[in-house]
Amino acid sequence: MSTILSRVMNYYAVLAIYKFEMARMRRTLLQSIVTPVLTTSLYFIVFGAAIGSRIQEVGGVGYGAFIVPGLIMLSLLTNSISNASFGIYFPKFSGTVYEVLSAPVSTLEVVLGYVGAAATKAIILGLIILATAGFFIELRIAHPIIMLLFIVLTALSFSLFGFILGIWADNFEKLSIVPALIITPLVFLGGSFYSTDMLPPVWQSISLMNPVLYLVSGLRWSFYEISEVNVWVSLVGVSLFLLVCLGVVYAIFRTGYRLRP
């Protein structure tokens, strides 16, 4: 199997990068897994148990259950971006990126290694959060395949986005500014913790311009068959975003932007 693969691509390089990145996750287990799980548990305690008990059902779903897709999406987005951006930024910062750039690897192989590992970590984390949620509420997943599809597509596309961010960033501040100042607000304003039906009409219209709304809505549909927008619009949207990010990464390697002077 590996011999056949090595004829068409640098299979060993993809595996080397992937394993290297996954090893980093194991080394930073506390930061990678325990911290997000603890944060998610706190969300459930605060929003699910303390505040949620005073909120009536949303769309026929208990508030604790309603926020599960939003919490998974928050974790998927922030972790995909931070894993992938750090994965490529740190070698740039430390200088070890010279090895990847001088190796016989194609753009696709580099991306498969780095983005594949970042997405894997984010997916594992998303599933851990899902399991954690099971301790607090009774889980019901109407369309598990669609749920997995959303989780995988989101993790992949935002890992790609993080990879681009890591190449673009030339200091640690830039690395953290996009997740902190753009992604987190979009997730919070994207219907993670509320239904847009609860907003005044003008804010409902404005919310439709938030791309994260489509992701949360699609994932929530896979759980409870309730959504703000059609689930296929969400799927097509995230797939298009994936393609755009792939195109940008291809252009980066072709031009050498911030990698090869």
């Binding site: 060993y12 080397a16 430390s94 090895e99 990847v100 190796a103």
Partner: protein, 326 residues
Amino acid sequence: MAVIEPEVGSTILSIQQLSKVYAGGFAALKSVSLDIKAGEIIALLGPNGAGKTTLISTICGLVQPSSGRVLVAGHDITTDYRITRALIGLVPQELTTDSFETVWNTVSFSRGLFGRAPDPAHIERVLRSLSLWDKKDNMLRTLSGGMKRRVLIAKALSHEPRILFLDEPTAGVDVSLRKDMWAIVSDLRASGVTIILTTHYIEEAEEIADRIGVINHGELILVEEKRALMAKLGKKQLELELFDPLEGLPNSLAPFGLELSANGLKLIYTFDTTESGENNISSVLEALREAGITFKDLHTSQSSLEEIFVGLVNQPADGIAQGAAT
């Protein structure tokens, strides 16, 4: 990935009119051309900013060339990058390592990255040859600078390259380690690896290189066999310590261009080693005897590579061209 084994003595690296102009307009390389044969060691000398690292980085794929072509074992580095890069190992100038990785893991990672199947026996051989075996489980951050340098060499050798680029391999290392490095380079050459190194240390080039290339202001101003270079551009001097001080040189000695020291007790005769057998030492000595000048001691000296190098980079452009052409 197929392994290419270049024949010793064949051209393994061909640099053809390679130029690099950075985005800011700085021309780091100006139409550099150079052929390197399999199995040789070539040292690239040049002051800081001369273009040595840019040349290496371009061949290895770290910098995009502005124009020109580079062939590795007959393959273009741009279109056949998978083949060419698999043949090349690079030891960078900076000590860039993943601090939290172990020696074994980082060297194994490099082998995989360059498309080679895992081979613990080869990694062990490389680590042992570089005296790193007992450090294989150590994290890189716990190693000394010298050991990190060895790790970088081990990483570069992990995929069994046929060309090894060493960019300032002994920068910042102590004398003992530097000699160890020279021994390592010598062993590598014995195994058929072609070595291209950049260095500031002239003695390093003098010690281990077969050929010397001098780069200055992005131009390869000279490439020559080390011995031929020293013979061609090196000067020899004959110093004579006189018994009695001279106030001036007699007219009969004028044709030889002798220098007289300030105290009049030393005569210096500079001659060119290329004038084989006709350097007129005997004529000078005969003329001295006829003039009644006696000396109590004499010795000859030859200029080092360092003096040749300083002389070259300080020459005006036309002077260099003439020197290179001779």
